[in-house]
Subunit: 591 residues, 2 copies
C-alpha cells in the first residue's frame, strides 16, 4: 500500500470512527487544511492538529465523510508526495489535493463539487432537449424561455438577485442556472460586456487567456492571449445568451433591506425606468472590486477649468491630442491611460504618490503563471480545472514563501529594465515582503502595474514623471506639495476603488456595511491589509455576518473557480439542506 493510500485509509477510518484526535494526529504540527464548503460550509483554512481536531469535533457528525481515494497515481518530488483525491459527504461529493511529507499531511485541500440529488445536467446527464413522444401539452424551449422572462421578477420571485452584471455575475449566474436556482442579474448598463466596452479604448485584459476562462465554455484556441476589451465584451454577451441567464440590463438597484422574519430581501430596482420590487431569498453583491471609484478630495477641483474625471470614466485619448494631461496615480490604469494619451500625441505627466510594483507582462506569464496557465501547462496535462485546484491548495499563510523566489527571478531577469526605471526616478517596490504582484492583489487589490509598454515611456521620459503629493488644483494646473506646477488641460484621477462593502452601505445601510466589515484582503498585516490574520479573503464567496448577503468578484480566475462554491452554498440553502457554518469570520475592520 502506498503512503497516500495508507494515509487515506487511516484518515478515513479515524473519521468514520469519529476519532478526531486520531485524524488530527495524521497532520504535521505545521499543516494546513483548506476547506471549500465540503466540511465547513465555509471557505476556511484550519492550521495544525489542534485547529483541525476542533473543526472536526464540531462538523464531523454532520458531514459524515467517506470513500476517500486517489483519482490518479500520486507524484513525489523533493520529499513531498502530491495526490489528487476524492471523497463523499452526507450532502455531496468532493475532491481535493493532498500533500504528504514523511507520511503525514502537510497540506490538504477539500472542495465540494456537487450536491447529491442535485447534480448538474452535464455530459451523460445533459438534457435531452426534445421531449420524444407525443404530448398535447408540449411547451417548446422558446416558449419556456419567454414565459420565464415574463414571469420571473414579476409573478414569480427569484431565489437569488445578483447586483452587478460583469464577468463575475455572469459566471455565477451560469452556475446557478445549471443548478436550477432562479436568479436575476441586475446591471446598470444595457448589454452584458458594456462594463468592458465603456472603458478606455486601448484596454486589454492584463491576464492571459488560459487564466481567464469562464465556467462551462472555454475560449477557443484562436482567442488572443490578452483579450481586447470589446472582444471580451462580445464574449460575455454571447455567453449570457447561450447560458440562458436572466440578465436584466438597463436596471439600477436602488436599495435593499432584509426581512429577518421572512428570510427575504426587499430589493427596489428600476428596470428600463420602471420601478419594481424583487423579493429574493439571497442577495449577491457582484459589483466588482473596481466599481466604486475612489475620488480624492483636492483643494481647487472646483475651480479647475479643464476636463477631470476618475480613470473609470476616462473616454480614451482621441480628444486630447496636443493637450497637457496629468494622470494622478501610478498603477495599472494610470499607466494604460498615460501610454494611450502619449500614443495619441498628448503631453503626458504621471504623478506617482507612492511606490509601485511593476512586472513585465512576458516575464509574469513565463515565471509567474507558466506552470499552471499556459500552452505549456496544457501540454503537461494541467487543465484549467487542475490549475485552479493546485492554486487553491497553496495555503494563504505560506503562499508568499512560494511567491518570493519567483519575483527574485523576475527582478534578476529584467534587471536592466528596473535599473532604467529607477534612473528615471520611478519609485519601485516588490510588496512589503518581496512577494510581488499576486500577493499584493490578494492582500490589497492594488499597487502594481503589469507592464505592456508604458514603463518604457516612463523610463525614456516620453511620459514625464513627477513624484509626491498633490497640494491643490488651480484653473489650469495641478500644484504639487513642493510647489511644482503641472499645467493641465486634463486631470485623470487613477486613484483606485473603494472596498466592496461601500456598496453594501449604499444599497442596504451603513449599519449592514459595518456589520459585514471590510471586504477583500487576508489580514496579512502589510500595507493596506491590516491584521489580524484571517486565513481566507475577507467576506468573499462565503457567509458573512449579514445573513443571506454574499460578495462575489475578483479576477476571471477567481470568479470562475469560487463561483462554484458560492453557487453550491446558495443551492444548498434553496434546497434547505443543513449548512452549519464553521468559523464564520469575525469583523476586525470596517473598510
Amino acid at each position: 500500500m502506498s503512503d497516500v493510500d495508507q494515509w487515506l485509509s487511516d484518515f478515513g477510518s479515524a473519521l468514520s470512527a469519529r476519532d478526531t484526535a486520531a485524524a488530527a494526529a495524521l497532520f504535521h504540527d505545521e499543516s494546513f487544511w483548506r476547506d471549500l464548503v465540503a466540511f465547513t460550509w465555509n471557505l476556511k483554512t484550519v492550521e495544525g492538529p489542534g485547529e483541525i481536531e476542533a473543526m472536526l469535533d464540531t462538523q464531523l457528525e454532520h458531514i459524515q465523510p467517506s470513500g476517500w481515494h486517489v483519482t490518479e497515481p500520486p507524484d513525489t518530488a523533493d520529499g513531498v508526495t502530491t495526490a489528487w483525491i476524492a471523497f463523499e459527504t452526507a450532502a455531496g461529493r468532493g475532491n481535493g489535493l493532498l500533500r504528504l511529507r514523511d507520511g503525514k499531511a502537510w497540506t490538504l485541500l477539500t472542495a465540494l463539487y456537487e450536491l447529491k440529488g442535485h447534480e448538474e445536467p452535464r455530459g451523460t446527464h445533459r438534457p435531452k432537449g426534445v421531449e420524444h413522444g407525443a404530448n398535447p401539452d408540449r411547451v417548446t424551449w422558446l416558449e419556456q424561455r419567454m414565459q420565464e422572462a415574463e414571469t420571473l421578477g414579476y409573478s414569480e420571485q427569484p431565489e437569488v438577485v445578483i447586483v452587478g452584471g460583469g464577468q463575475g455575475a455572469i459566471g455565477l449566474g451560469a452556475r446557478l442556472r445549471q443548478l436550477g436556482v432562479p436568479t436575476i442579474i441586475c446591471e446598470r448598463n444595457e448589454r452584458p460586456g458594456d462594463s468592458w466596452r465603456k472603458r478606455y479604448k486601448s484596454l486589454c485584459l492584463h491576464d492571459p487567456v488560459w487564466y481567464d476562462h469562464l465556467p462551462y465554455i472555454k475560449f477557443p484556441d484562436n482567442w488572443p492571449i490578452f483579450s481586447p476589451k470589446d472582444k471580451i465584451g462580445d464574449w460575455l454577451e454571447m455567453y449570457t445568451r447561450v447560458m440562458e441567464l436572466n440578465y436584466w440590463g438597463s436596471t439600477t438597484v436602488r436599495n435593499a433591506s432584509f426581512d429577518e422574519d421572512e428570510g427575504r430581501w426587499t430589493v427596489q430596482v428600476e428596470r428600463h425606468g420602471q420601478a419594481l420590487t424583487l423579493r429574493p431569498r439571497q442577495l449577491v453583491l457582484a459589483t466588482g472590486m473596481s466599481s466604486q471609484p475612489n475620488m480624492p478630495e483636492i483643494e481647487g477641483m472646483d475651480v479647475f477649468k479643464g476636463d477631470q474625471h476618475h480613470s473609470s470614466k476616462h473616454p480614451g485619448p482621441d480628444q486630447y491630442a496636443g493637450k497637457k494631461c496629468v494622470v494622478i496615480g501610478s498603477n495599472n490604469s494610470a499607466h494604460d491611460i498615460c501610454a494611450a494619451l502619449w500614443e495619441n500625441g498628448a503631453d503626458v505627466t504621471m504623478v506617482q504618490r507612492s511606490s509601485t510594483h511593476i512586472v513585465r507582462s512576458d516575464t509574469l506569464m513565463e515565471i509567474g503563471l507558466g506552470d499552471l496557465y499556459s500552452e505549456k501547462a496544457l501540454a503537461n496535462g494541467i487543465t484549467t480545472e487542475k490549475a485552479d485546484m493546485i492554486f487553491a491548495s497553496i495555503p494563504y499563510r505560506i503562499m508568499h514563501e512560494f511567491q518570493i523566489p519567483l519575483y527574485d527571478q523576475m527582478r534578476e531577469r529584467d534587471k536592466d529594465f528596473y535599473d532604467r526605471l529607477e534612473a528615471a526616478g520611478f519609485d519601485l517596490d516588490w510588496g512589503d515582503d518581496g512577494s510581488g504582484l499576486f500577493m499584493k492583489y490578494l492582500r490589497r487589490g492594488s499597487g502594481y502595474y503589469i507592464d505592456v509598454g508604458a514603463s518604457e515611456l516612463v523610463a525614456n521620459g516620453d511620459i514625464k514623471l513627477v513624484r509626491g503629493k498633490v497640494a491643490r488644483l488651480t484653473e489650469h494646473a495641478v500644484v504639487m506639495e513642493d510647489g511644482t506646477q503641472l499645467p493641465a488641460d486634463l486631470v485623470v484621477y487613477a486613484t483606485g476603488y473603494k472596498s466592496m462593502n461601500g456598496w453594501a452601505a449604499e444599497l442596504i445601510s451603513p449599519e449592514v456595511a459595518d456589520k459585514v466589515g471590510k471586504v477583500w484582503g487576508l489580514g496579512s498585516d502589510t500595507t493596506k491589509d491590516p491584521g489580524p490574520w484571517e486565513g481566507e479573503q475577507r467576506n468573499m464567496w462565503k457567509p458573512t455576518q449579514q445573513p443571506n448577503l454574499w460578495f462575489h468578484g475578483g479576477n476571471l480566475h477567481q470568479s470562475r473557480h469560487y463561483s462554484l462554491y458560492l453557487a453550491l452554498q446558495l443551492k444548498a440553502r434553496m434546497e434547505e439542506i443543513e449548512t452549519p457554518v464553521y468559523g464564520l469570520q469575525e469583523v476586525h475592520h470596517l473598510a
Copy 2:
C-alpha cells in the same frame, strides 16, 4: 519494426524514389485510397493498385510527400491493423488513417490539415491581442473590426463570397477568417440562426449534440442532446459574432456571372435594400440541401380554399386546432409537422406516396452513432476530430457493407415497433440494399424519418394514414387517385427540396447549372441516385466543372469536417499555391 512502421517506411521510400509501381504494390487488389486535398487537390477515392499508380504518376512530382510516421500506437483487431498517421507534402501537412491486412494496405485516408507558411493562429500560435510597447499608430481591435466592416465589399473586394448564411456557411466562414481569407457571407434573413428560428416551432435537431459541433468552439457539456431550433439559432448568432465573421444579413444575392479573363465573379446583391456589386474571386453556394422547396404541381391547387404551403413555410400548429389537416409526404418534416398538429388538437392525415425508412432516434443514437459520437465514445478517447476522420476513412464504395449489419440489428431490436407500423398500413423500407438511413442520406438526401414520437401516432391511428398518389385538389379536399376524398382546411406539401444546382441555375445561369451537373449523391445506382459510380459526393466541397464555383453544405458533421478541406482549397488559390486537380469529376446527370 512493426507492420505499420515497415509499411510506412516502404511506402515513404517508394514515394521518395518516385517508384509509383512499388508504392502501388503495397496495396491489396481490393483497396481504397481516399484523399482529401493532400495528394489530389480534390476529394477523390482511387481504388486498387492500378488507379493508385495512375494517380501517383500524375501527382507525385508536384506533391513531394515525406515524413510518414504513426502518431500513436496502432491497434489490431480482426486481422486489421489501424494506424493514425501523419506526413508532409511540399505545400502542407497532412494526417490520416491506414488500415493494413497481412502487411498490405486495405484502406488509406490522407487529408491535408494545414498549408506551410499559412498555419492557423491557434494554441501556441494564437494572436497576442494587445500589441505591447508604445505605438502612436495603434489601431484597436474594435477600430480594425469597424474599418473592415466599412471597407470590405465597398472599397475592398472579398476573396470569397458565400451565398447562404446557415450553419455550413458560418463554419466555413470561421475557417476562412482563421486562414486570413477575406470573406463575405450573404444571407437573406436578418440574423444568423434565423433559418432555424423561422421553421416550425417544435423542430429540434434530429442529430445528437456530439455529432453537431461547429469548428473551433464545441457546444458546452450542458448542451441538450437534441438542440431546439431557437437555441441552435442563438448559438449560430453568437458564434458568428465571436468568430468575427463578415456576415451580411438582410442581403439577397440577385445574380452572379464569372469573368473568365479576370478570374473574378460579378455578384449583384441587395443589402438592406441597397444594390451593390461584389467582385470575389471565389463563389461558394452554401444554400443548403433544404433551401429550394420542391413544390408539386397538382390539379386544383388554384381552387383550394384552405391554407396550403410547402413544409418549409409551415408556421406551426397554433392556428390549426380543430382543423382538418392533410400533410403530403412521409419523411422527417411530414412526421414532425403531423405530430405537432396532432398535439395541438388538429385532425391530421398523412399521405404516404412511397415507402419510407424509419429508425427510432434512441436506437439510431446507440447502434448507428454511439461508437463515434456519444459520451461513451468520448470516454473511450474518440474525440470529435478522431470520429470525423474515422468516418471519413470508410470508403463510400464499401460503406453500405458496414451499415447493413447495423440496420439489421436495429430492425431486430425494434421489431414490435415496425410490426405495429406495418399493421397500421405504413409502407416501410430500409434502402434499396438494406443499408439504412445514412446511406440514404448520402445517396439521395431523403426518404427517411428519425422517429422521435410521431410513428407511435401513426401506428395507433391518431395520425390517419392514407397511401397512394394525389389526383387533385378541390375547394375543400384532397382527392386521391383511388377517389378517396380527404377533407382539408390545410394542405402541407412536405415534398422535399430540389438539387442544389437549382441555385446555380437561378443565380448564375441554366448553362452553368448544367455544366456543373447534379449535386449530391454517390452514383450508387439506387433510387434517386443514378450511376455511374462517382466515388465521392457529387460536386461537394471540391472543384467543379465551373472554375471558381464551389458547393458547401450537408449536415452539421459534414459541414464541420469538410469545411476544412474547402477552406484550404480556397486559401491555396488565394496564395497562388499550385493546385493541380486530379480526377476532376465528370458530369453524368443534370439534376
